[in-house]
């Protein structure tokens, strides 16, 4: 039995369907992420787990027990809010021990746990400060410490890294992974930032318009997106109109506008004549000057239209026949072929026959 079971949950606000029959199982000890664009229903789901909102239909069970009649203050679930929601009139120590004091724990117990928590979260020396005296990273750690001090069954994190600047965010991500591994509490994380989700999670659920699109491990989600939305939402991907010419167990034979015939990985159930979109990640597309790509089954001529230099990598937009373009992402330091191209260069582009995938309409 999963620790948290979400069963056929639906929630409407007037005519707007925030969640449409969503079912999910989250296992104990998992770092689980709800990912989706804003308005996809991920925050609504999080608020329901916390108890601030109720499903119109369906159930949410924690350790097999229905949470419906349990108010937020009675649930063994704590939240790290997007704004952190630190109490401005309380010190760091008073903020962190809030839940213990609400439950009227003995003072000695409160102090012992506070010390432990301050040490663990590297907040020793900040105990008597007020929230406005803290840096962004410190506030975030106080919010975490406060939510974790009475060892909840589940920790909910609502866009909890959004307020940090880019550099700090990366550090905090590593800390968060380590923390979760050390304490073993189940984390449910909500974010719209796919890189954050990929970096942190054991599993990710992708939501769109209140529907569950796919639940999978980060590498599977990125490498084998279940549908066009997921493919497009997670990372970048080239999308080309295509028609199935031939479908056999080892490969697909496709006709792609602007490219002609190509070979693609097999798609069970595809039948000749079917239309769809051939999708391929920019890093799977290679660019060459001469004929070094000739051994690839899929290779074409094109012209570099634009170059986006990003330091570690460059993104090239290559124009093919019929106005079709593909994006290719090349590292700038690849040994042996550290060749940079410029706009206007005539080049060859190509990819392996087992790269990319077809999504039919």
């Amino acid at each position: 039995m999963a620790q948290l079971e979400i069963k056929n949950v639906t929630r409407r606000f007037g005519d707007f369907v925030a969640l449409d029959n969503v079912s999910l199982n989250i296992e104990a000890g998992e770092f689980f992420t709800l990912l989706g664009p804003s308005g996809c229903g991920k925050t609504t789901l999080l608020r329901m787990i916390a108890g601030f909102d109720m499903p119109d239909a369906g159930q949410i069970l924690l350790d097999g027990k229905d949470l419906a009649d349990i108010p937020p203050e009675k649930r063994p679930i704590h939240t790290v809010f997007q704004s952190y929601a630190l109490f401005p009139h309380l010190t760091v120590a008073q903020n962190i021990t809030f839940s213990l004091r609400m439950a009227r724990n003995a003072l000695s117990e409160v102090n012992a746990r506070l010390q432990q928590s301050l040490d663990q979260m590297r907040l020793a020396g900040q105990a008597d400060k007020y929230p406005h005296e803290l840096s962004g990273g410190q506030k975030q750690r106080v919010a975490l410490a406060r939510a974790l001090i009475n060892r909840p069954r589940l920790l909910l994190l609502d866009e909890s890294l959004a307020a940090l600047d880019a550099k700090l965010r990366e550090e905090v991500q590593v800390e968060l992974i380590n923390l979760q591994r050390d304490i073993g509490i189940t984390f449910v994380f909500v974010t719209h930032a796919q890189t954050e989700a990929l970096a942190l999670s054991h599993r990710i659920a992708v939501l769109n318009h209140g529907r569950l699109e796919q639940v999978d491990e980060p590498s599977k989600l990125y490498g084998f997106p279940g549908n066009r939305f997921v493919a497009d939402f997670i990372g970048h991907i080239n999308q080309l109109e295509a028609q199935v010419l031939e479908s056999v167990h080892s490969h697909l034979h496709l006709s792609v506008a602007g490219l002609g015939d190509i070979i693609a990985p097999p798609l069970p159930g595809a039948i000749p004549g079917q239309r769809g979109v051939f999708s391929i990640r920019p890093e799977q597309v290679r660019i060459g000057m001469h004929n070094e790509l000739a051994e690839l089954k899929n290779h074409f001529s094109g012209t570099i239209q634009s170059v986006l230099y990003q330091g570690d990598v460059s993104v090239y937009r290559v124009g093919l026949a019929d106005g079709v373009t593909v994006e290719a992402l090349l590292p700038n330091s690849a040994p042996g072929r550290a060749q940079l191209f410029e706009a206007g260069d005539t080049v060859k582009v190509g990819w392996r026959h087992d790269a990319g995938m077809l999504f039919h309409d």
Binding site: F52, H78, F81, L86, H89, M102, H132
Partner: protein, 298 residues
């Protein structure tokens, strides 16, 4: 705001600020100084003040602390002062307990409705001050429905009827009535700014409704509470019209005492002394509420 150029700043400051500055220097600062001087003077023979410099040597003149000595020598004046402080405190407390739920409700109403609810608090306050006091003369009058109801109930228990009008009770109720908006507005302004996610966080961490109010909402609203306290306490302390109209003979407050000295007894030096005492009390209250209401956090 960026700093204006020096020459322009000095010129502009006095060109723009000069007219109101001079007016208030003459019409506010000078009278204040005169009040201090008056409190240190002897009373004139026919009311008013004795001259500081004698016209003929037989009359009282010069500077004296006589009125201050007089104030502290007779306990009756200190008693009236204490009674006024007590009355103002009671007014503040009642205003706070009436205003808090109202301000909380307005602050937690949908945005569109808030302005209308606030306007509803301000509107009665816009009617003339005397009319609002007069209204209570009718409500508390001996033949009013309220009086008859209360005395009816009292007679059921065999108790003697009471007079609601011309009593401390009438004075207190009118003081609360007149000052209530001054408590509602600062409280509402404060409560409206509270981040609702703080209440969610408290609930998430196990606080029940009672704990959420006393541990989060109330301590965060303290700057509003003290701002409102200053706005109610200070004018209530100096009030003279309400006891004059609704109070009985024993309901005299500092304000009435000052009025007596200036317009009836015509002992102006003593009246000025009482004004100075009231000013000191007001400044103390203002200082205290500002200090207590200062936010230790941002």
């Amino acid at each position: 705001m960026t700093k204006p150029y020096n020459s322009e700043a000095r010129l502009g400051k006095y060109l723009v600020g000069g007219p109101p500055f001079l007016f208030l220097l003459l019409m506010f600062a000078a009278p204040a100084v005169i009040t201090v001087i008056a409190s240190l003077s002897y009373p004139g023979e026919f009311g008013g003040l004795a001259p500081l410099v004698a016209r003929d040597p037989g009359t009282l003149h010069g500077v004296t602390l006589e009125t201050y000595r007089f104030f502290f020598s007779d306990f009756i004046y200190i008693e009236i002062f204490l009674k006024s402080v007590l009355m103002a405190s009671a007014t503040t407390l009642f205003c706070l307990s009436l205003a808090y739920p109202l301000a909380l409700l307005i602050a937690r109403s949908p945005k569109k409705r808030r302005d209308r609810l606030v306007l509803l608090v301000i509107l009665p306050f816009a009617s003339n001050f005397l009319i609002r006091i007069y209204a209570w003369m009718i409500v508390l009058g001996p033949q009013s429905a309220l009086s008859r109801l209360i005395n009816g109930i009292l007679s059921l228990f065999g108790l003697a009827p009471v007079h609601l009008l011309f009593s401390s009770f009438a004075v207190l109720i009118a003081l609360v009535y007149v000052h209530l908006p001054f408590m509602v507005l600062p409280l509402y302004t404060n409560l409206e700014k509270h981040d609702p996610s703080l209440l969610d966080a408290a609930q998430d961490l196990g606080a029940n409704a009672w704990q959420r109010f006393w541990r989060v909402t109330f301590p965060l609203s303290l700057p509003g509470v003290f701002a409102g306290t200053a706005l109610v306490f200070i004018p209530a302390l100096g009030m003279f019209a309400i006891p004059e109209i609704l109070g009985g003979t024993g309901d005299m407050l500092i304000g009435n005492l000052i009025k007596e000295q200036f317009l009836v007894t015509r002992d102006w030096p003593f009246g000025a002394t009482l004004s100075i005492m009231l000013t000191i009390a007001v400044l103390m209250i203002a200082w205290l509420t500002a200090k207590l209401g200062a936010r230790r956090y941002v």
